[in-house]
Amino acid sequence: MAEVTFLEGLRQGLREEMERDERVFILGEDVGAYGGAFKVTEGFQKQFGESRVIDTPISEAAIVGAAAGAAHLGMRPVAEMQFIDFISCAYDMLTNYVATARYRAGLPTPMVVRGPCGGYVRGGPFHSQNPEAAFFHTPGLKIVYPATVRDAKGLIKSAIRDDDPVLYLEHKWLYRRIKAQIPEGEEILTPIGSARIAREGKDLSIVTYGATVWKSLEAAEVLEKEGLSVEILDLRTLLPLDDEAILKTVKKTNKVLIVHEDTRTGGLAGEITARINEKAFEWLDGPIMRVTAHDVPLPYAPTLEDFVLPQTDDIVTAARWLAGY
């Protein structure tokens, strides 16, 4: 059983679904001949042909809109945004057309929009974004955000099989940094809408997703040595949120730290805080606290990016404070 990277897990999932179901096709900028800016679809055009791996013009709105049209007719398009930052050019198409299609007109729109997101890579303000908050506010859309190799594979497969539009966010910092063994033959289908306990603990819960799952795990190691037992919940699906899993860990540890890479104001931590507050107010032994990026566009210089984004030390500091509350 070979070790594969996060990126390879995603690639395997895509390939398996394309082999399984001929309705699945890929469209995006440079996904064909070049195999995608990060090589996620390398070799796909050779294997599946030009009509199933389509190099498009630089037209994010058209890519998403065309995917929607195909999906209405029963196809299963997977649209790549070269960097997820450019999804902002398809914001109208995704939120107004795609997400509402089933509700307003009973139109099935099974499609996936995926792309590399996230910082810690010196990408500057337009190659590092985390767009989840902008789409989290969109009934009709689902959002998944894998943190592990297994979920990278399992969630792309489930997203493609889902009957509704799914935004699949892949953190480029994880692409080649995270490796794991995944069984060859196994059909991995991570259920959409269910979180995962990334680490068991009893004193304090960290609710997080994406790259900060790994930073939280590092922090937990440090805190363990200090005798603090931290539980880590990896949300995996952001929309719909797994309220049950969130409330379960809250009721277990009674203290919650929400960690995300996205900026604080308007980030997902707000909604999660509100839900815990509404449904488990009596269970809280301390305020629900947030460790997030600072409220600025993400700068490019390493010193600045490192300051703006949440780091392992920040999680350690915040957890210590909350534990002592």
């Binding site: 037209s59 995917a67 049209g69 007719l73 109208d92 057309y97 089933r102």
Partner: protein, 351 residues
């Protein structure tokens, strides 16, 4: 009988149409206008919820362009705009559906969720627009790309207003379809206004057809109030696209005879223009054409007019008193799974 005898004396019917088709087209034209007149009456009685958008003067291009498609289950496909009520009727949309939509009835195709002609039927081959102008062009690019991928000999048709050609979505969608050589026909509706904005303030070209040059697709400009001319031009484009020759642009020159919507008194439109174009009414012109060429008798058309009125009377009676959707139905169908959205905590608590 008179019909046939006169038909025998008559000049040949153009565009490969036969007499029954000519009458069918007339029926759709009349149906469109009579239905809109009925909607106007209902609007004045405030039975219509929200705004009312008229296609007066544009029924010809709507009906004729749609009529150039192959209709029926899983055949050709179109996406109509707010002023393409006629196109929608041609594709199989029913007056009863339209009346229910405008009155937001529970029985309406969207169960009261969306307005007026914003509904569709994938099998019958029409797709409701959303309000955001231009967005249907990329979507229809995807519909027709699918036809091509599946090697189905089907064609898609999408409408775009003179104003909406200024949107980024129109550009991206049309360019995408042109590069992919999708079987898509685009009907550009030059009707003189975008709400209150004239073409001179909308773009710096004279004809919408000029814009096609930037996409490497053929284009033609026709008199949008000449029913048979629009049919012929669209039929040519449709056949060509069906043969795998890619996107084709058809510009129809017409005029919006009412305000943007009923609330708009169009004070910004010159009386003279309205008068000039009133003489070019597409239904009157078509009617005369049928009679003077002896392709139809006065009586044939009268009969159709009466049929249509009856149909719309019946449709109106059938739904005008129907209930609106039950409140809780608002929660269903956001996703296939879960089937319903959460009912919020403060509802149904005995306050």
């Amino acid at each position: 009988m008179p019909g046939s005898t006169s038909a025998s004396k008559a000049p040949p019917i153009p565009a490969g149409l036969n007499r029954d088709q000519l009458l069918e087209i007339y029926r759709f034209l009349r149906l469109t206008r009579t239905l809109e007149e009925r909607l106007t009456a209902l609007y004045k009685q405030s039975k219509v919820i929200g705004g009312l958008f008229r296609s007066l003067g544009q029924e010809g291009e709507s009906v004729a362009s749609a009529y150039a498609l192959e209709r029926g289950r899983n055949r050709d496909f179109l996406s109509p705009l707010i002023r393409n009520l006629g196109s929608l009727l041609v594709m199989g949309g029913k007056p009863l559906q339209i009346l229910r939509q405008y009155m937001a009835k529970d029985q309406s195709p969207t169960r009261g969720r969306e307005l007026n002609v914003h509904f569709g039927d994938l099998e019958m081959g029409f797709l409701g627009q959303i309000s955001h102008l231009g967005d249907m062009v990329p979507v229809m690019a995807g519909i027709t790309l699918t036809f091509k991928m599946r090697r189905e000999a089907r064609v898609g048709l999408v409408y775009i207003g003179d104003g909406a050609t200024s949107t980024g979505a129109f550009h991206e969608g049309l360019n995408f379809a042109a590069v992919q050589r999708c079987p898509l026909v685009v009907i550009g509706e030059y009707n003189g206004y975008a709400y209150s904005t004239t073409p001179e303030r909308q773009f710096a070209v004279k004809n919408l057809a000029d814009k096609a040059k930037g996409y490497g697709i053929p284009a033609v400009t026709v008199d949008g109030n000449d029913v048979l001319a629009v049919y012929e031009a669209t039929k040519y484009a449709v056949d060509r696209s069906r043969m795998g020759k890619g996107v084709h642009f058809v510009e129809v020159k017409t005029f919006r005879m009412k305000g943007h919507a009923e609330h708009d008194d169009q004070h910004y439109v010159a009386k003279a223009d309205l008068e000039r174009w009133a003489k070019q009414d597409p239904i009157d012109r078509y009617r005369n054409q049928l009679l003077t060429n002896g392709w139809a008798e006065e009586q044939d058309l009268k009969d159709i007019d009466n049929d249509v009125r009856d149909e719309i009377d019946q449709a109106t009676d059938a739904c005008v008193n129907e209930p609106l959707p039950p409140p809780e139905s608002a929660l269903t169908g956001v996703y296939a799974d879960p089937p319903a959205a959460e009912r919020l905590w403060f509802r149904g608590m005995n306050g």
